[in-house]
Symmetry: C2
Subunit: 189 residues, 2 copies
Amino acid sequence: MQGVIALALSHAILATLLDGPVSGYALMKRFNSAIGYFWQASHQQIYRELATLEHQGQVERMPTDGQTTTIRYALTEAGRSALTTWVMQPSEPGVMREDVLLKVRAGQLVPPATLLAELRHRRDLHAKRLLTYQELQLRNFSDPEHLSYEQCLHYLPLMRGVLFETENVHWCEQAIQMLENARQLQSGP
Amino acid sequence: MQGVIALALSHAILATLLDGPVSGYALMKRFNSAIGYFWQASHQQIYRELATLEHQGQVERMPTDGQTTTIRYALTEAGRSALTTWVMQPSEPGVMREDVLLKVRAGQLVPPATLLAELRHRRDLHAKRLLTYQELQLRNFSDPEHLSYEQCLHYLPLMRGVLFETENVHWCEQAIQMLENARQLQSGP
DNA sequence: AGCGGATATGCAACAAAGTGCATATTTACA
DNA sequence: TGTAAATATGCACTTTGTTGCATATCCGCT
């Protein structure tokens, strides 16, 4: 959005490393499950980015245990300060880029049944994601009324994910109903 | 997300051309205002994409009026059918990629006041966007209870935008309150 | 001992998206 | 009549993301 400091995957990686050293693989797992509600990346991207970050001195390899071949990366002071700089920087919100909205907008091109099938498919998918996030929420934050400041920092992004998927399900249901309704009124009597 | 047919900007352009021929500049304007709630693109991206689409025979230049230098593009049959194919194709939802969520997660690095300032800034921004969308909604759909099928196709994506920004405002407010609360409890006695 | 699946890492090529720079015309208005 | 803002178009470069490929280890099961 703005020209100064953008990037993002690198920041997502650095931020995740705040919780302690991890391997590229573990990072990938987290990105595609735990924090997948606001960031995703393939393992290839992550390994490439880790290599770049290491080259820039923002992360470093931990001494291996001798046992495994797993490479664990840790934040360096430079990485920590780069991340801090980025967090301080005010920034603009991005856009949602949901192709289903585009499909609905171009929906005149396909039979209503096709569009409705897609919407039902989406609804189920979002419902499934919602369930996953809600389980995470329950498991990790059993008492959301009494969280410390630091706990809030972890709770709030997850909460955003829950809200987002709740909305998605809700919108899909509304869309299905409106379209079915309008179709019946037009084709009907 | 999936390997078959992805792309997206091209489809957003083709879909917009369904409403009639437009210039690249007008397309840019629409992307960054009217339908900005689900897609955005810079003029450079749009001109490049239009050139590609023209090369592929999916759009064509309209005869100029002789008066202006403005180039207006129209959908061709090939473009229409390419778009149809894409709309038919089932697809997976993407991820939200909100950097403010990342910033909150890494919020331990900055003073609470900084984080709270950013959240208030975001709240105001989202409130402003919300207002824009709501005005669009009022102006274009005065009676949302009685829309034709085709009108629904335009109404529903806008409605998604309204819901999204409503959520954003709501989440920001909750976040501000939770963080302020937790901070007071911890710093106080 | 062999097999399959999860863990773990990485390169190379390519496609898509974003940023910076450059420029010409038109329109309103002071 | 100058000038500033909006309209209008585009190239070149850089960064990000995707896809296909290649490999090696570890763990549990049979």
